[in-house]
Amino acid sequence: MINSQNLEQFALKIRKHAINMTNTGGSSHIGSVLSIADILAVLYGSVMSYKADEPKWPGRDRFILSKGHAGAGVYAVLAESGFMSLDKLKTHYQDGSDLSGHVSHKGIPGVEFSTGSLGHGLPVATGMALAAKINKQQHSIYVLMSDGECDEGSNWEAALFAPHHKLDNLVVIIDRNKLQSIHSTEDTLGLEPFVDKWQAFGWNVVNIDGHDHEQLISACNSKITDKPLCVVANTTKGKGISFMENQVLWHYRSPHDEEYEAAMRELNNA
């Protein structure tokens, strides 16, 4: 477990890797990665149990990134946590690489599940949580979704299933940055009242600042018996780089030249 000061550094490293990877690879979705960098840092730095030298250790907590387009963030946190070399991150998005733009498990120790099409992570995580209950195992399953992804009906099928089966070993964290592919979530397909929706489906819901590490840790520790946990993590897309924050453009654009220099300068001064 990492202390709070080091958690900040951990999140900063994820952000720097993400800027470097999207710069080198010319890949998209940097805003989406920056949005979840703190969540990833807290999960891998403090909340989850795992063994980097034994990725399939049966007692490990499981993590699924359902918003697979932010896969660079997962590769970065796995490399920083010892699952693979930091050098491998340089191959992201390159010809012949297995570090695809959307997160893939093949050849990547520590990735539990490949995603990329939205609305897949929660049903699969729910199945893993059900298996843990059947097998009387104690680990938890964490799934990180985007808010825009909640447009997908498959999520709501799983959202019905998990409380019905009392899967209190399942934790959904929703990256509530309020932006999706073209416009805001509320202008596209309104999600509010968002917390009420999850509560109405039978979830234990915690509504927090998704960049506040203490709040994230506390939220992940607020499991209650017989109910799955939904953490609505209010975030800022592009968090940490001033000119990327809250800009849909950075769902697509990769930072080059002066933009890259400016982004790294901001992170180095953070």
């Binding site: 099409s117 897949h120 049903p123 699969v124 729910t126 298996a131 498959s154 099928e157 799983a158 299933f161």
Partner: protein, 304 residues
């Protein structure tokens, strides 16, 4: 056929607690015994096929051998991307069972006619696609799929050929039920019954038709196809399925790829249409020129 499937599945679940059956709220009066015998191995997940398939993937990632069950197109086309991304890409042990292949639910209307499932699912890498023609084949198929690796599709049919076999069952093989040198009839699914009836009618007309049940469409028995092309007067494929992409297409691919071209070749199936007409399975097969009488007429024309 469904009873034979369920009997075998019950045996498999008794022998292995990791066998888990999920149904998307179908199987009224079918699964009660299974549910009471095997708590923790049966879940009615509600009318939610996408979630059912995602759940299956999650369970299979944790070592379960999962069967997803529903009828017609619901466990296949409704959740095709979950089958592809969650199941196939992750090499998981999931067996998708659809009760009601072809026009099994003929009177229920087009939504319940499963007539493109074979073509669509056999396009997926790492899938097995099985359409048994007899109760015995269905029983053997579920065992092979559950004990095997990867994602499998088992298409159960209401029509069933009343045949038995003492042969061993393997995915990627086939079973010959009739010998005949003039032409070989390759069928898949319960339409094997009509195919055998057609062969018997052809016999009366002096035409010796062999009959092979191609229960395994993927992987497919290339040797049986090449033998039919080489050693008999032609190949006729018969399937209760759209003509594009199903058994007939798979057989044609093998012939062209291998260079063993049959002297005559005919694909019998549904001719690229949806049926707005309803009726019993037998009625619709006759209507769409796939019953024994129509098969005989079309083979006579082919061989003339």
């Amino acid at each position: 056929m469904r009873d034979a499937f369920l009997d075998k599945l019950t045996e498999l679940a008794a022998a292995d607690k990791d066998v888990v059956l999920l149904t998307a709220d179908l199987g009224f009066g079918v699964f009660e015994n299974f549910e009471s015998k095997f708590p923790g191995q049966y879940f009615n997940v509600g009318v939610a096929e996408q979630n059912m398939t995602g759940l299956a993937a999650g369970l299979a990632l944790e070592g379960k051998k999962v069967i997803t069950y529903s009828i017609a197109n619901f466990p296949t086309l409704r959740c095709l991307e979950q089958i592809r991304n969650d199941g196939c890409y992750h090499d998981l042990n999931i067996t998708i069972v659809a009760s009601g292949g072809g026009f099994s639910y003929g009177s229920l209307g087009m939504s319940h006619h499963a007539t493109e499932d074979i073509a669509i699912l056999r396009a997926l890498p790492a899938m097995s696609v099985v359409a048994p023609g007899t109760a015995w084949e269905a029983s053997e198929a579920i065992e092979a799929l559950v004990k095997g690796d990867g994602v499998g599709y088992l298409r159960l049919d209401k029509t069933v050929a009343d045949e038995n076999s003492t042969l061993l069952f393997f995915l990627g093989r086939s079973i010959r039920y009739r010998e005949g040198a003039d032409v070989t009839l390759l069928s898949t699914g319960g339409i094997l019954r009509d195919t055998i009836q057609a062969a018997e009618l052809l016999q009366e007309l002096g035409i010796d038709a062999g009959v092979v049940s191609m229960y395994s469409i993927k992987p497919i028995d290339k040797d049986a196809i090449i033998a039919a092309a080489n050693e008999t007067g032609g190949i006729v494929t018969i399937e209760e399925h759209n003509i594009d992409g199903g058994l007939g297409s798979a057989v044609a691919e093998v012939c062209m790829d291998s260079g063993f071209i049959p002297k005559k070749f005919l694909r019998i199936g549904l001719d690229n249409q949806y049926s707005s007409i309803v009726g019993s399975q037998d009625y619709l097969k006759a209507h769409y020129q796939m019953d024994a009488t129509a098969i005989v007429q079309r083979i006579k024309m082919l061989l003339e």
